[in-house]
Amino acid sequence: MSGETPPRDPVERVIELRLPSKLGYERVAMDTASSLARRMGFQPDRVESLKTAVSEAVTNAIEHGNEHDAAMKVVVLLTARAGELIVDVADQGRKPFDHNQTIRRPVIEEVLEQDDKGGWGIWLIRELMDEVEFSTAPSGGNQIRMVIHLEQ
């Protein structure tokens, strides 16, 4: 191993989207991602899964990472490769990820007893996407990477 950075995929195409941290704008990310996925040839049911996952990830970034501060941005990077679409969603990290929340599987009986019926987003994303990874964004905020494979 030389330790050098691997060469970029020559057919990689990147679309970058910067949104205000305001609920409702996740719709813009959903529509952008679905437009790219359709162009790449994803089946309609996979496009719907992608839209749901993107919506959950951007909503988390707005609500938790950026704590609803509309002046903060959510950055969505869509990377189209030959056999997959990678979606990175990054916030500005006012509130860091709770690692336990990223691996917890909600128990429906417990959730039904709580006033707040939320907390399903990350579980849902893991169910819908082929790969999910949590990390720190280059900007220092929270980042989630979701990968969806193109089935031939």
């Binding site: 195409r13 989207l17 704008y25 813009v28 529509d31 952008t32 790219l36």
Partner: protein, 155 residues
């Protein structure tokens, strides 16, 4: 002045300079405009204008080099939605001294292409290239908002 009390909302988008990707930009900006309460028929005009502006940036400004980028900045102001489309300026825009009319083009007096800017001018309320300090061309267009069109999302 009696204008809606809307706070600024903005969207930034960067995409490869490759024909076909203008459709992704179209869908992103349409979703943004929809969120802002722009009427549906105006959003259709916006989509056409945006595609034309992006294709111009890709074909002319960036000379169809897929390694270059097209950037789109959208912002909402009290009375209008403003969109700027920027290329990296491989080729600088120069206005034709006397642009041909559609009638003249149809009559074969010039290329049938090159009607994008004419179409844009018919569909939006303001349009034109603006000067900027850095390299590249910046094409700006705007759609005026009707009074009261300020959805809860952009207050």
């Amino acid at each position: 002045m009696n204008t809606p009390a809307c706070s600024p909302a903005s969207l930034e988008l960067s995409l490869p300079s490759e024909l076909g990707y203008e459709v992704i930009a179209r869908d992103a900006v349409a979703a943004f405009a929809c969120r802002l309460g722009i009427p549906a028929e105006r959003i259709e005009d916006l989509k056409t204008v945006l595609c034309e502006a992006c294709i111009n940036a890709m074909e002319h400004g960036n000379s169809l080099d897929p390694g270059l980028r097209v950037q789109i900045f959208c912002r909402i102001e009290a009375e209008r939605l403003v969109v700027e489309v920027l290329d990296q300026g491989v080729s600088r825009y120069t206005a034709a001294p006397t642009p041909l009319s559609i009638g003249e083009k149809v009559a074969g007096q010039g290329s049938a292409r090159g009607m994008g800017l004419l179409l844009i001018s018919q569909l939006c309320d303001e349009a034109g290239f603006v000067t900027r300090s850095g390299p590249g061309n910046c094409f700006r267009f705007a759609f005026h908002r009707q009074p009261g069109h300020c959805s809860s999302g952009d207050r």
